[in-house]
């Protein structure tokens, strides 16, 4: 009995992060893998997918609301077929946080995390782009310095227990927060909190602060992602790209005439 007890103690010391979840062992500090969103909401906050009924009012400043009202999405309660100016419609970069949340579910898209000793890298299928999250202990650039905005911002990550916390600044303000047209400025600060709750499930919540456009921190709902939850028999046989020339042709010959744009 003492031998067994000693073995268990030694095992716990040797493999402290390996726990069991849904009958499968996993390391809660290992976020690597290909993740497809399982939660339905493709908005940053909890906007119903149908765009009908109740949706939360963002805590806009007057300046934020003015920009919001000039963004014409193809979805949701403000969908506008003829004025739509969603960056996705021209294959423009989606940026963070939208890359994390834009049609990641289903056939269109997913994202993948790989790791290196000093960083995590997220790959986004739709644009075949990536985003670096530094984990080497560096600090974010001085927000008061003249930062060159990036589509995906500057990001650093750290562990708080089993939660991976990513803080980011320096975003290009041409992107939308989501497909419903919520705007942000280049002064937006974003915090993402990732938690691997079992072998197959990753949860993400986000909160942004952007005082020019939002009077208080704007919180996302809880996003749930599943590991390798692709719907297809041969996911390796896919090449999903947003190709500008193809998108332009699609818009010119199909979508624009159909909508009267």
């Amino acid at each position: 009995m003492k031998v067994i007890t000693l073995f268990l103690i030694l095992s716990a010391v040797a493999f402290p992060a390996v726990v069991s979840g849904q009958n499968t062992k996993f390391d809660p500090h290992d976020l690597t893998g290909k993740w497809a969103r399982n939660s339905n909401n493709q908005g940053f906050a909890n906007v119903p997918e149908t765009g009908r009924g109740n949706f939360p009012e963002a805590p806009f400043t007057p300046a934020g609301r003015a920009v919001y009202e000039k963004n014409f999405p193809g979805y949701g309660p403000r969908a506008n077929a003829t004025l739509r100016n969603d960056p996705m419609g021209s294959c423009d970069p989606l940026g963070i946080p939208r890359n994390l949340n834009a049609e990641v579910v289903s056939s269109h898209n997913w994202w993948e995390i790989t790791s290196a000793p000093d960083r995590l890298i997220q790959f986004f299928e739709w644009h075949h782009e990536y985003r670096v999250i530094y984990t080497d202990g560096r600090k974010l650039p001085d927000v008061n310095a003249a930062l060159d905005p990036k589509w995906n911002g500057y990001s650093v990550g750290r562990w708080e227990g089993d939660t991976f916390v990513v803080d980011s600044i320096g975003f290009d303000e041409r992107t939308w927060l989501d497909k419903f047209g919520y705007p942000h400025t280049d002064e937006m600060k974003l915090q993402e909190r990732y938690r691997r709750v079992d072998a197959n499930t990753l949860e993400l919540t986000m909160v942004l602060t952007d005082p020019k456009y939002y009077t208080k921190p704007f919180e996302s709902d809880r996003k749930v992602f599943k590991l390798n939850a692709l719907q297809f028999e041969k996911p390796w046989d896919e090449q999903i790209y947003c190709v500008p020339s193809e998108e332009q042709k699609f818009n010119r010959l199909i979508r624009d005439p159909a909508s009267g744009k």
């Binding site: 997918e49 149908t50 765009g51 009908r52 999405p73 193809g74 979805y75 949701g76 969908a79 506008n80 077929a81 739509r84 996705m88 419609g89 049609e103 579910v105 289903s106 056939s107 269109h108 719907q231 297809f232 028999e233 041969k234 046989d237 896919e238 999903i240 790209y241 947003c242 190709v243 193809e246 998108e247 042709k249 699609f250 010959l253 199909i254 979508r255 005439p257 159909a258 909508s259 009267g260």
Partner: protein, 160 residues
């Protein structure tokens, strides 16, 4: 324009209830998703690309005039591949009959709901992000079986 559409030979508008419309790239604000029309034509081009494959075809009206039509598939290529589709499934000069949701603008563009190629029905899946099991019946816009109604005579679809 709607009157023009209804006069095109081979275009028959049929009222049907297509079930839940899935908004994608503004699909439901662009097409009359609660109506289905039938369009017959000859294929000029098939783009099996993202985000939605497109089909271009010629429809000859009652005066013998050729009208250029376009249709978008609601599923992605990946979803269609699960149903056995390839870029060669539709070829130039194929004869096609489409059940599809007409555009709200009245122009000769529609969102595909059902399809037959050279007289043979083929599943076109169930919409964006939906990957029916191989061999499954179409989940929306089944081939029309109801009496015909002019294109402009049906209620407009609810915006999403």
């Amino acid at each position: 324009m709607r009157r023009n559409l209804s006069s095109i030979l081979g275009v028959v508008a049929i009222v049907s209830f297509a079930g839940s419309a899935v908004a994608h790239h503004g699909t439901s604000i662009t097409y009359e998703m609660d109506k289905t029309i039938t369009v017959s034509g000859t294929v000029t081009e098939f783009d099996f690309g993202y985000p939605h494959p497109s089909l271009f075809f010629d429809v000859t009206d009652e005066k013998g005039q050729v009208v250029k039509w376009g249709a978008e598939f609601l599923p992605t290529p990946a979803a269609l591949k699960n149903l056995g589709w390839t870029k060669e499934t539709i070829k130039f000069n194929d004869k096609v009959v489409l059940g599809c949701h007409p555009s709200k603008s009245g122009k000769p563009v529609c969102a595909l709901a059902s399809l037959s190629i050279n007289g043979k029905p083929i599943s076109v899946g169930g919409g964006p992000g939906v990957a029916p099991a191989p061999g499954a019946a179409p989940q929306r816009g089944a081939p029309a079986t109801e009496p015909t109604t002019p294109a402009g005579g049906a209620p407009r679809g609810q915006r999403q």
